[in-house]
Symmetry: C2
Amino acid sequence: MKETDASSKFALLGMLSICPGSGYDIKKLVQASIGYFWSESYGRIYPVLKELAKKGLIQPERRQGNNGRGRQSYAIKKEGMQDLRQWLEKSPRVEPNRSELLLKMFFSRLAPVEVTSAHILERKAVEERNLASYNRVEEQHRKDHTKNPELSYWLATVSYGRHRSRAIVDWCNETLATLSQIQQQLKERNKK
Amino acid sequence: MKETDASSKFALLGMLSICPGSGYDIKKLVQASIGYFWSESYGRIYPVLKELAKKGLIQPERRQGNNGRGRQSYAIKKEGMQDLRQWLEKSPRVEPNRSELLLKMFFSRLAPVEVTSAHILERKAVEERNLASYNRVEEQHRKDHTKNPELSYWLATVSYGRHRSRAIVDWCNETLATLSQIQQQLKERNKK
DNA sequence: AAATGCATGTAACGCGTTACATGATTTT
DNA sequence: AAAATCATGTAACGCGTTACATGCATTT
């Protein structure tokens, strides 16, 4: 492991700033709370936690928890909080959004129309499932944290997800219409 | 280089399926035509092109072009077209959309409100610039290719960009409003 | 006792970026 | 001739995923 200053580090620090926990806990928390725009894998979590501990940003704590289960837990330290705050000040990078769906779309003249439609239908289904899940996430957030502005920020991220998924679904519908037009044209051309 | 079956390979094949060219040409073409949802770096382009040639998917051609400039050019072969078509049939993977902006947003209770607003304003500006550029891209596409369904597919990808950027700008506005409310509340709390 | 699942971790690998190096061509 | 920029490439590195390994706890 090299000196990491990537966002994984701060995702972990941030989660620990909400509540202490183990790598396993963090993984679940990430998935449940920000899973629609972030992910962390064990392969990163554990090494980064170790490094953060070595740097004195978080405090490892042997935990012989409630039921005797679970083991290595961490709590964030003042130094970690400071690091996190500093990171928050810096402009977030604009991530290049590579979309394989769009790439295929761009070359779709080489594929049967039905195949392209199928891909879009699939994606539409995914985003509709996402839309449904945002309601659950929002409920959970409202339960977990009633205090402002904490909650406001969380709800804003959920709203982002909704805007995003809604936009994609709209595009899917629009594009499905276009595709059926194309298919219509091909049929008529074949008749002649 | 190991056996790659990643999308870079197919992005290159796809571009060569439109017109033959060098690595440099491809880089520019990618940027101009699908730059808003895809990117390729020289560090990938050149090795992958070599590998594709070795596999017999594309044909290397010494080019002593119009003006004596440019060197190693490639043209796609039947085998390459076949590979490309096969790839098009497969369901595109749903890419995890990691957003650093959203991550910061989620932890923003730890930062001054003005900083968060600034980040959002920046992103908003970026997306508004993107929105403007889609018009230019669309114009270019209409000029380059009038034949259907080629053009339809290309315009569909542009439309995706618009939906996406529009959604983000909307969210930015909404969130900026939320933030100024939060700031208002903080001010009033300080008065007391 | 065996099987399943929980929790923690490691190793290896591929992708993609960044930074650097180099020649060839055009511009000044 | 010098400077700039075009064009091609390589090397190194970091990030993140995947697959694997391992023990402990719980269930059957």
